[in-house]
């Protein structure tokens, strides 16, 4: 008889926990400019290595280098900086409003601003994002009215969603922002369906699907990759790998794979892995994927590598599960600082102008918040009418709902 040692269960664990020194020593970061830039009609077999690398444009000295550089002009870059800073100021204000009891809940995208902002700038009107709750930058970069966004956060009488949805669960058809569901993963495959529809109708619009590292574990994530691989619709499959899913480190979602991008390889999808804190890289790769989709070369899967600097949400306390200073040890820096330094190196920006812009944006956000609060807050009202909840359950209200609304006395 062969003797076998008793089996044991392997459970992945992060290398550090609260009290430990943050450790990113095993995190390999290729040099900026070192990853090649293939043609958009490239086949998946030719770029399998790109699922393991990291596309980066900005080097340590703030210079744009390598084959993915040179895509962005000064004007676009300055706009992008402004949108990122606006997103950060917006988050800070709304987070504070939550603490002051003006709303029930908030979620920031601190440290991840470059991804949504630069990606949106690469899309065109008519394209549709299927976002998660951490892509407010998509709306801000589309210049969606701030007051309208804030009224949603406050669930007040000005909320275009009638107070039905939790804060940050925006929806704006006009701004190419699909209604957010609280159920993770569901919308990833819906984006694929939207893109299939565009192809069925001979349109030129594309869809962009969004998911977090944690939610790549969902069944719908795999359904999305499957359908994308079979029908090759014009869809971009974005994974925002911010290292954490609430308290769960990314190893619980990746398992044995080294990267999320490699998930796509088994489906025969083109996959890229990108420095998500490098505004120029996000823009260049997004442009590449957008062009590819629009020219009918099919889907692109992109892992954006970043770090969730803030808490998961206003209900979360990350000091319970990760070192407090882990975000400052994150080796890929801050997206706003990095773009700012680059623009200074380019000679189109300065520290003074940066400070000035920051102040300007804070005033703009403050004024918008004041206006939004004139329509009420969740804490103080006025709230949308109770009647609201019976509307839009169906196109036309069936008798049983009319009866219930009557019973409620509104």
């Amino acid at each position: 008889m062969t003797y076998y040692k008793p089996l044991s269960l392997y459970v992945p664990e992060p290398s550090v926990r609260p009290g430990d020194k943050p450790d990113f020593s095993k995190f390999a970061i290729p040099k900026a400019g070192s990853v090649r830039r293939p043609e958009i009609d490239v086949s998946e077999e030719e770029i399998r290595d790109l699922a393991y690398g990291i596309i980066r444009v900005l080097n340590r000295d703030g210079e744009a280098v390598g084959p993915w550089a040179g895509v962005m002009d000064d004007e676009t870059a300055l706009k992008g900086l402004r949108y990122m800073m606006k997103t950060r100021a917006y988050d800070a204000r709304m987070q504070k409003a939550q603490r002051q009891g003006k709303t029930s809940f908030y979620m920031q995208c601190l440290g991840e601003e470059a991804i949504a902002v630069a990606h949106q700038m690469a899309l065109s009107p008519g394209d549709m994002n299927f976002p998660t709750y951490r892509q407010q930058g998509l709306l801000i970069a589309r210049e969606h009215p701030l007051v309208e966004m804030m009224c949603q956060i406050y669930s007040n009488s000005g909320d275009v969603l009638g107070g039905r949805q939790m804060p940050v669960m925006y929806s704006s058809r006009d701004s190419g922002f699909f209604s957010i569901s609280g159920n993770l993963g569901t919308q990833y495959v819906q984006a694929v369906g939207w893109a299939m529809a565009s192809a069925i109708k001979g349109d030129t619009k594309i869809a962009s699907a969004w998911i977090g590292d944690g939610a790549t574990a969902s069944n719908d994530f795999h359904s999305a990759l499957l359908y994308a691989s079979v029908y090759r619709p014009p869809v971009i499959l974005n994974v925002v790998n911010n290292q954490w899913a609430i308290s769960t480190f990314q190893g619980i979602a990746t398992g044995q794979s080294v990267t999320f991008a490699t998930r796509a390889l088994g489906y025969g999808l083109n996959a890229l892995r990108v420095d998500g804190n490098d505004f120029l890289a996000v823009y260049a790769v997004s442009k590449w994927a957008v062009e590819r989709a629009r020219r009918n070369f099919g889907p692109t899967f992109i892992e954006w590598v970043t770090y969730r600097v803030g808490a998961h949400s206003s209900s979360d306390d990350p000091s319970k599960y990760r070192p407090l200073d882990e975000s400052s040890a994150w080796p890929m820096g801050d997206p706003i600082e990095r773009l700012k330094n680059h623009l200074i190196v380019r000679g189109v920006w300065s520290d003074d102008r940066h400070v000035q812009l920051d102040a300007e944006l804070h005033d703009e956000i403050r004024d918008a918040a004041k206006e939004a609060e004139s329509h009420g807050t969740l804490g103080q009202g006025p709230a949308p009418s109770a009647k609201e909840m019976f509307e839009d359950v169906f196109k036309e209200m069936p008798p049983h709902l009319r009866r219930q609304r009557q019973q409620m006395g509104v």
Binding site: V11, S104, F105, R164, G182, A217, M389, V393
Partner: protein, 337 residues
């Protein structure tokens, strides 16, 4: 005896079973190192190790699927679904697999699994952190459904559920985690430490599945309630002065029909309350059973007070929630009919 809130009582039940039975394992999203977003598994991984208490990927069908496999091997898995609102991806594993495994294999394989999930509104969770989908499970042959209203019951029922050889859906009304919330959202909630049902025996005990409890004896009308609605009904009875007999069902399936029947035959009237939507809710089943068993004793039509047939709204949460005013009005309607 110890004073516990409902979170501590639930954790204690798992602690007792993990300690007594090597076959018990606990897993779900964020339940390992962190101890769960509601802290129900706090400290259990440290005490029992990573291979018995661990984090899972965000994949509810997988959570239940592996639980079914472990159960078939002979373990007693306790799976946590972070919010009841996120159980739907697991519905196939629960309905087609866990619920039927015993039957289709003629008892060769079973699913002695417990699936815990926080439920109910009251925390401004909107449509995806507020649901109580009990009726989707009571409708399925082969599942037991439990919904405790207090720390004492939560611990005893959870131990009974873990020890049960069939799959149990274990709902935890999250608005009750810290105290007996009675629907008066504008008032502070008394903590469980000041409530008799926050007295929880140490160690092992069970509250058997299928036994209801009478929370208030009365002669005017029988109120059938469970979870948060037990305390809402108590508030409504106090505020209307109606002498209601309030039955806390505790287990929806198996159901303590004897106790319901005896009470309704005594009072001659019945009000059914639940937080979930009205149409095809569990109240419809209860109403049919009361009608079938007590028809000739009924002096008034059976009434139901429930959530409206809409998604759970965010801003209008308290218009949706069937609070003491609506339950009180329901009580009056049954009395005046």
């Amino acid at each position: 005896m110890a004073r516990m809130n409902m979170i501590e009582a639930i954790r204690d039940a798992m602690d007792v079973k993990l300690g007594q039975d090597d076959d018990v394992v606990v897993f779900g999203e964020d339940v390992g190192y962190f101890g769960g977003v509601f802290r129900c598994t706090d400290g259990l991984q440290r005490k029992y190790g990573k291979s018995r208490v661990f984090d899972t990927p965000i994949n509810e069908s997988g959570i239940v699927g592996v639980a079914v496999g472990m159960g078939a091997y002979g373990l007693r898995p306790i799976a946590e679904v972070q919010f009841a609102d996120y159980v739907y991806p697991a519905y196939d594993q629960i309905v087609s697999e866990a619920a039927r495994l015993r039957h289709r294999s003629h008892g060769q394989f079973t699913s002695p699994i417990t699936i815990r999930m926080p439920c109910g509104g009251g925390i401004f969770g909107g449509q995806t952190h507020s649901q109580t989908p009990e009726a989707l499970f009571t409708h399925v042959a082969g599942l037991k459904t439990v919904l405790p209203s207090n720390p004492y019951d939560a611990k005893g029922l959870l131990i009974a559920s873990i020890e049960d050889d069939d799959p149990v859906i274990f709902f935890e009304p999250k608005r009750l985690y810290n105290g007996p919330f009675d629907g008066h959202h504008d008032r502070p909630v008394t903590p469980w430490s000041k409530h008799a049902l926050g007295d929880v025996p140490e160690g092992h005990y069970v509250v058997p599945l299928g036994e209801a409890a009478i929370r208030r004896e009365g002669s005017d009308v029988t109120v059938l309630a469970y979870g948060t609605m037990v305390f809402v009904a108590q508030a409504a009875a106090a505020e209307t002065g109606i002498d209601a007999e309030i039955i806390d069902l505790r287990t929806l399936l198996p159901l303590d029909l004897d106790r319901i029947e005896a009470s309704v035959k005594k009072t001659g009237r019945c009000l059914i309350v639940h937080e979930a939507t009205f149409t095809s809710g569990y109240g419809a089943e209860l109403s049919a059973l009361v009608q079938e068993t007590c028809f000739y004793h009924l002096e008034a039509p059976i009434e139901r007070v429930t959530g409206w047939d809409t998604p759970y709204p965010h801003a209008q949460e308290w218009d949706y929630f069937p609070g003491p005013a609506r339950v009180g009005a329901g009580l009056k309607r049954v009395m005046e009919a």
